[in-house]
């Protein structure tokens, strides 16, 4: 009891909510491992010029398809470009696309879902149908449409991921809010006459965030993979920009698949490790922000 009191007094000095969640997150070993892998890959991509001296677009036809060596850590590709440099620089775009898409979809989905789920009624019914239409719409056709109108670019990809992704986030947020709004503390806030936005966004949303957070991480992984697929079709990020997806595409060539493993194995491992680490972080975050779960 004295210890508790003491901690409480100390807790008064700093932000209690923050320190608590961080402490719980750090106790989760998998989450910390995930955070480390995530940080290493992210920092390596961001500070790529400090790590490798090669330009990812520099073509060197004299050393085509050379296997890994001290000079080229991951070897070189068909055009003699350094694969290690391409993986690092490619990470910048791939991570940006994955997070950007997931964040865009989450921002739209959560802000609509929180309010509509709380208020219900016609607003919710309309948005629910609209989200179904967007989810049922073939993504490829949407991509073709936007690419033919606006041309191929990174921003198109982000817009498309937001448009096609917000529906599932909306539905998830909404269903969370539907169950939370029956809780008595929401009724109590209503009895005080607080505004709908304040009740929905400040008091209810934090309790709905757990599953949304996990969804955000999972969809980041999904969007990274989708970027790969679209880049392969020549509809994603323009081919001259290195991305993880664009690098993997080289493996479509059978001779490269069989004989130049260094082109696709390292980048495949990096993608898997990155996606996995995001998932671990998501799980850790979910537990950390939920105060009913004891660390």
């Amino acid at each position: 009891m004295d210890r508790l009191k003491m901690l409480e007094k100390e807790g008064l000095l700093k932000s209690r909510q923050g320190s608590r969640a961080v402490g719980k997150f750090l106790q989760n070993k998998l989450a910390v491992l995930g955070l480390m892998v995530f940080a290493v890959i992210l920092l390596a991509s961001v500070f790529a010029p400090l790590i490798t001296k090669y330009d990812p677009a520099m073509i060197d036809l004299r050393s085509r398809l050379s296997p890994p060596s001290w000079q080229h850590l991951f070897g070189t590709d068909k055009l003699g470009r350094d694969v290690f440099a391409r993986v690092l620089y490619g990470g910048r775009i791939s991570i940006l696309v994955g997070f950007g898409g997931a964040l865009g979809a989450a921002l739209v989905g959560v802000s609509l879902g929180t309010y509509a789920g709380y208020k219900g009624g016609w607003l919710d019914r309309i948005l629910l149908r609209v989200s179904e239409i967007f989810m049922a719409f073939p993504q490829i056709i949407l991509v073709l449409l936007l690419v033919s109108i606006l041309g191929q670019s990174l921003w198109n990809l982000l817009v498309i991921f937001t448009i096609t992704g917000w529906g599932s986030v909306y539905r998830m947020t909404r269903s969370q809010m539907l169950s939370i709004r029956e809780e008595e503390y929401v009724q109590a806030l209503k009895a005080f006459g607080l505004s709908d936005a304040l009740i929905a966004y400040k008091h209810m949303l934090p309790n709905a965030l757990g599953p949304i957070m996990v969804n955000l991480t999972l969809s980041t992984a999904m969007f990274i993979l989708e970027e790969t697929a679209l880049s392969f079709l020549g509809l994603g990020v323009p081919l001259h920009i290195p991305t993880w997806g664009n690098i993997l595409n080289a493996a479509q060539d059978l001779t490269i698949l069989q004989e130049a493993w260094w082109i696709w194995v390292p980048v495949g491992i990096v993608i898997s490790a990155f996606v996995l680490s995001i998932n671990f972080i998501g799980d850790g975050l979910r537990d950390a922000v939920d105060p009913t779960q004891q660390g």
């Binding site: 409480e8 008595e184 009724q187 109590a188 009895a191 607080l194 105060p291």
Partner: protein, 352 residues
């Protein structure tokens, strides 16, 4: 300051129906009549007990008073320091101000506090909204509230999961008192607690009532608790009030067969005492499709022909010089003609 005879809240013909929707187009095929033409007065400073079995509309009536559920019809005339206004006809701004006077304590201590916020975080927004701008001031007020419900003031920095059920319920009471209300609706406020904790919380409620001159509407299915707390008791069955009297009169001379059955079910802690248990047959009828006539007639041991066709009105009888309202065709046979009809009383109130 206020006399006990002054009416704080007049409820007239309150109706809260929930639509029953079916099919793809959500056609309304019927209504659940949760609260069906309820009329009653709540006096200043009294505790009005509201009893009835699960699903009879007690909670819905409480939430209807606070306008937390969409009310279908009727009037909720509240006495704003002498000025009577219908809560349903207030403007948004007026309703917001009225909410300061009306508060509620909930049943479930586990869902009535937000798990993501400390107690301070949960309680500060209403204060902020009603003009307590400085954080220090809010801390002081919330600390005082916690002390008023016998909790340490530093507990405001804790999360709900760090408290026991009884402590949470006391925090719920502190929250209801935070804006100094006049009328507090206690919706099954102690049902979820252990008996020993129940007693603590009940005594706390009585103490706070004394201190802050509160008026309670005390909703419960537990007759002993209601008897302990209430000045007057209203018995509800299937969305209607079937009997309303002073607590001791109700327990001494229950007139409605349903009330008699309820009272006979109270366990008595006395060895060898023989009591006649009235066991009711069957189940509560569906409130979507209540039986014609008196809603209680399919289960009533004394039902007559008239009970099957005519809905009994809530009439006022005088027993030993005290008013006793009951909605039963048979009551007149037991105690003589009604003193005056309920309608007459309502009219006289309306003209006053």
């Amino acid at each position: 300051m206020h006399k006990n005879s002054e009416v704080l809240l007049k409820i007239r013909n309150a109706q809260t129906y929930f639509p029953v929707q079916k099919g793809l187009l959500k056609r309304t095929v019927g209504h659940v009549r949760a609260v069906d033409k309820v009329s009653l007065n709540v006096y200043w400073g009294e505790t009005l007990g509201l009893v009835g079995e699960s699903g009879c509309g007690k909670t819905t009536l409480g939430k209807s008073i606070l306008q937390l559920v969409p009310v279908t019809g009727g009037e909720f005339i509240y006495n704003f320091d002498g000025e009577e206004k219908d809560l349903r006809k207030l403007s948004k701004e007026e309703m917001m101000q009225a909410r300061k006077r009306l508060q509620i304590v909930f049943q479930d201590p586990y869902s009535s506090l937000n798990p993501s916020f400390t107690i301070f975080g949960s309680l500060q927004d209403p204060l902020k909204k009603f003009g307590v701008k400085s954080k220090e001031e809010r801390k002081r007020i919330i600390g005082d509230l916690l002390e008023a419900v016998n909790l340490h003031r530093d507990y405001m920095y804790r999360y709900p999961h760090e408290f026991s059920g009884g402590q949470r319920q006391r925090i719920g009471i502190a929250r209801a008192l935070s804006l100094q209300p006049e009328l507090v609706i206690c919706d099954e406020a102690v049902s979820a607690l252990d008996v020993s904790i129940q007693a603590q919380v009940l005594n706390l409620l009585l103490e706070l009532k004394e201190k802050h001159q509160l008026t309670y509407i005390f909703i419960s299915h537990d007759l002993s608790v209601v008897e302990y707390m209430s000045d007057r008791i209203a018995v509800m069955y299937l969305g209607k009030i079937v009997e309303l009297a002073q607590a001791e009169d109700l327990f001494a001379n229950a007139l409605h067969p349903y009330t008699q059955a309820l009272l006979s079910a109270i366990p008595v802690a006395e060895v060898g005492r023989k009591r006649k248990r009235i066991v009711l047959e069957g189940n509560v009828p569906s409130p979507v499709n209540p039986p014609p006539g008196c809603a209680f007639h399919p289960r009533c041991p004394y039902a007559m022909e008239v009970c099957k066709s005519r809905v009994p009105e809530l009439k006022t009888y005088v027993l030993d010089g005290k008013e006793h309202q009951v909605a039963c065709h048979l009551a007149a046979d037991k105690v003589g003609a009604p003193a005056k009809s309920r309608q007459a009383e309502v009219d006289s109130n309306a003209t006053n």
